[in-house]
């Protein structure tokens, strides 16, 4: 009947639009009918109809693309379901969950790795964002250019092209980051000691976390026994499991532009007279920042902490692009979401992957709940 592919595409598009209109109208009618049943006036019914009519496209989309998949995911999490098998999902109850929590070393490893990124990476990300915001708040020339430059990584995002560039930059020998470190070391010898100390501390902390993952601390003992790194040492970014997580942290810090803007908005909202009064009383710049700006920034810190924590717990793209083709380094960098991807799309165990996704959700909910409960202790929304 219809053989022209372009006509088919137009027809499909028209059908989609009609579907959206029809469901929007239907939802509006249903809502106004419900209002009428509750005894609402004609005016209220009309307003209800209009409100739901305009909200319906989003509501319908949310139901189709979020709620329905969520329900399926929850069901599959209680089944043994392999997508490439011809067998339908087999109900196994809580077996997937108990295996994950009690038996799966790989999942525990991914939790430890994600914890590392959250405990070390997130505070670093927030600190750098705050520092940049404070610098930009000095109202220097070219402030807009700097603001754009620092926000550019957020616009570029963690897409494949950008991450492939990072792979080049993180090469141990020829990557620009290590070239800069070598250059600074040669130009300023004291920097060399600082570099080696930082490498030593980083490798100890990383080996400690790897020890928790592996259940033995062989590597930590070796790192300590090896002692202070040699003069020629530079970070082994994408080459060593001791550095794989730190390379991801570097990317997290690089993408702190959004946090920086939040802090900048917060700094701009602090009444100038507070700092002026403090200056008159003899307070130094540091004291003004520590005693006035920082407490008043607490709501913004809290926001960045909550959002940053959620993002850190769900980190995936940097690890996938940096380490997907470097199998031996994956265990040292694998995050919970990467583990979910591996189970679902590499091993094709959709049921197991669904259980992982629900556990991740519960972890995020619990942590976010705790953060909100604790905010009363340190977050202040008062200006005076």
């Amino acid at each position: 009947m219809m053989s022209n592919p372009y006509f088919n595409a137009l027809l499909t598009a028209a059908g989609a639009i009609i579907f959206i209109l029809a469901t929007s109208y239907g939802l509006g009618v249903f809502a106004s009918w419900m209002a009428k049943r509750r005894g609402a006036t004609a005016k209220v019914q009309e307003n209800t109809f209009a409100g739901y009519l305009f909200a319906a496209p989003w509501i319908v989309g949310f139901i189709i693309f979020v709620i329905i998949p969520l329900v399926f995911s929850l069901y599959w999490s209680f089944t043994d379901y392999r997508v490439i098998s011809s067998d339908p999902p087999q109900w196994v109850g809580f077996e997937n969950y108990s295996n994950l929590i009690l038996n799966d070393d790989g999942f525990r490893q991914s939790i430890v790795n994600t914890l590392y990124l959250t405990v070390l990476g997130l505070p670093l990300q927030i600190s750098v964002a705050l520092l940049l915001a404070v610098l930009l708040n000095q109202k220097l020339k070219g402030e807009r250019v700097f603001r754009m430059a620092f926000y550019l990584p957020v616009i570029l995002g963690f897409n494949t092209a950008v991450l492939l560039c990072w792979r080049l930059m993180l090469n141990t020998g020829t990557g620009i980051i290590n070239q800069i470190i070598r250059g600074l070391t040669q130009a300023f010898p004291p920097f060399g000691y600082l570099n080696r100390a930082a490498i030593y501390l980083q490798e100890i902390s990383s080996a400690f976390f790897l020890g928790i993952s592996n259940g033995n601390f062989n590597l930590l003992n070796k790192v300590i026994e090896a002692g202070f790194p040699a003069e020629v040492r530079v970070p082994l970014w994408v080459q060593s499991p001791l550095w794989s997580k730190m390379s991801v942290v570097l990317l997290m810090v690089w993408g702190c532009g959004t946090m920086m803007l939040i802090f900048l908005a917060g700094l701009n909202n602090i009444p100038k007279e507070l700092n002026e009064a403090a200056e008159v009383d003899g307070a130094t710049k540091w004291k003004q920042f520590w005693k006035i700006s920082l407490p008043l920034l607490s709501p913004h810190i809290f926001y960045n902490l909550v959002v940053g924590m959620i993002n850190a717990l769900q980190i995936f793209e940097p690890i996938f692009v940096l380490y997907r083709d470097n199998g031996p380094l994956v265990p040292s960098a694998i995050s919970m979401v990467y583990y979910l991807w591996q189970a679902s799309f590499s091993h094709f165990e959709i049921g197991y992957g669904s259980a992982i996704s629900w556990i991740i959700l519960i972890i995020i909910l619990v942590i976010t709940f705790v953060q909100f409960r604790m905010q009363d202790r340190w977050v202040t929304y008062d200006l005076y």
Binding site: M1, M2, S3, N8, T12, A14, G15, I18, L21, A22, Y25, G26, V29, V83, I84, S85, S86, G106, R167, L168, N171, T172, G173, T174, G175, N178, Q179, R182, L210, N214, N218, L219, K222, V223, A226, P229, A230, V232, R233, V234, L236, Q239, S240, P241, L242, R324, D325, N326, G327, P328, L329, V330, P331, S332, W341, S344, F345, S346, H347, F348
Partner: protein
């Protein structure tokens, strides 16, 4: 007012329903009912590819799109398919349009899981050697179209055909045989002071690894790596491990089907991998930097700068070989991996033979058409030309003429594959084994786990994976 509203809503729903019904007439499944019925009743005809169209596909049939998904082929291959095979196929099947989609080996598993989860996708998909057991349950039984009784040319396919079977049934056809051998730059070997050719035991390999690798003192990084076994950085690739293991005479499974990673061959293989890595990179904690990004493969020279590409020897397939017309081939030797005959009497020279293949998923509603296309593309001339565009060895024995015998390199590869080839098929739970091994071997090279810990871990985890 209310009646008007209800009328409008009902009208819209009616229009949507009508349009949905009309759109359904374009589904390939409905158009191919006659074809599938004919296919179920009788095998496809045995007419050689390019002859008159199959009787059960009428010129008046609804248009059908035969979708083919290929991974990482050269531009020449795709151009040839689009300029010769597809037009010929479409001419023979007037109602059929052939559509090739090019994908990448990076992310293939995610893409394929989408096809199988949705139950729809390309009619022909590109799989790797070890994937027959991974996807076998979801692939169509193509015996009715391609086996001996249905296609008399099937007997021309060599041992590679086993890669395309699952539970004894054909699921598609193999494209090429890509042996993974050891090829070395003899000039760089001699320049490093190594004059005895490709090493033929473990001790020689370790000595060669240290001798032929060079380090730039300024960056404390490699500028030349004695051996690049698939992965230059970690040197802990699972396929490299399997090559070494097989060379010692190792068997992946015991007689009862359980994994054999607790064997002496497995321990020796693992120890050799660690020693090779340390010979080139040093101890894990003081490891030198790896080759610059992008170097190590292909084993070649930059014509403009005269700089070598970083590897002295490469344990890889033809993908990492330079084009055969490059003058560098005068300085490249091709050998199998010899194992360690001094310590393991069962050692044998081994070449891992990879066979990429095209399979037909069970969800496809165009199985017979897919079989017809495969017959055309995998005719003697088709299989020959396909591999000529890539410089690989055709899976069909009778297609190994012309460039295969004219090229000394390919002729050598074919001989090696024929004499020393070990297939890469039949690995149970290949995806999980890959993950398990990569994880354990990664912890080997960093010395997080001891040698014994590594083999024990692989044995335990793989046994558990197979039990599931």
């Amino acid at each position: 007012m209310k009646n008007k509203r209800i009328f409008v809503v009902l009208s819209m729903l009616l229009i949507v329903a009508l349009l949905t019904a009309c759109g359904g007439s374009n589904e390939p499944g409905e158009n191919n009912v006659a074809n599938n019925a004919a296919a179920n009743d009788a095998p496809a005809n045995n007419a050689p590819a390019g002859d008159a169209p199959a009787d059960d596909i009428s010129a008046d049939a609804e248009p059908v799109t035969l979708k083919i998904y290929l991974l990482d082929y050269t531009a020449d291959t795709i151009a040839w398919l689009n300029s010769e095979i597809n037009p010929a196929f479409e001419a023979a099947h007037p109602s059929v349009n052939v559509e090739i989609t090019e994908g990448s080996w990076s992310g293939w598993d995610t893409t394929f899981s989408g096809f199988f989860a949705a139950g729809e996708g390309p009619d022909i998909i590109n799989l790797g050697s070890e994937m027959n057991t991974l996807y076998g349950e979801s692939l169509a039984d193509m015996d009715a179209y391609l086996s001996e009784g249905a296609w008399d040319e099937i007997g021309n396919f060599g041992p590679a055909l086993e890669n395309a079977k699952y539970e004894g049934k054909l699921r598609g056809l193999p494209i090429f045989t890509a042996p993974r051998y050891v090829f070395c730059r003899t000039d760089l070997m001699e320049a490093s002071g190594w004059t005895s050719g490709t090493p033929q035991n473990f001790a020689d390999w370790v000595e060669f690894g240290a001798q032929a690798s060079t380090i730039d003192k300024a960056t404390n990084s490699l500028t030349q790596q004695a051996l690049v076994p698939v992965d230059a950085g970690s040197m802990a690739d699972w396929q490299w491990w399997l090559l070494v293991f097989y060379s010692l005479g190792g068997e992946l499974y015991k007689a009862d089907g359980t994994p054999n990673f607790d064997s002496t061959e497995a321990l020796a293989t693992t120890e050799f991998m660690l020693e090779m890595r340390q010979a080139i990179y040093g101890d894990a904690l003081d490891a030198v930097g790896m080759l610059p990004t992008g170097q190590g493969s292909v084993i070649d020279v930059n014509d403009e700068t005269g700089v070598d590409n970083g590897a002295v020897c490469l344990a890889h397939s033809g993908w990492a070989a330079p084009p055969f017309d490059r003058p560098i081939w005068e300085n490249i030797s091709i050998d199998p991996f010899y194992g360690d005959p001094e310590n393991f009497p069962n050692s044998r020279p081994v070449v891992l033979a990879f066979n990429d293949w095209l399979a037909v998923p069970e969800y496809s509603e165009n199985k017979e058409l897919a079989a017809e296309w495969l017959k055309m593309a995998f005719s003697k001339e088709g299989n020959h030309k396909w591999n000529e565009t890539m410089g690989l060895i055709p899976a069909r024995n009778d297609a190994q003429y012309g460039y295969v015998v004219d090229s000394p390199q390919l002729a050598s590869e074919a001989e090696l594959a024929a004499e020393f080839g070990v297939g890469f098929a039949g690995i149970k739970e290949a995806a999980k084994l890959s993950t398990i091994m990569q994880e354990a071997l990664g912890k080997l090279v960093t010395e997080e786990l001891t040698l014994q810990d590594v083999v024990d871990k692989i044995q335990e985890d793989y046994t558990a994976a197979l039990a599931e």
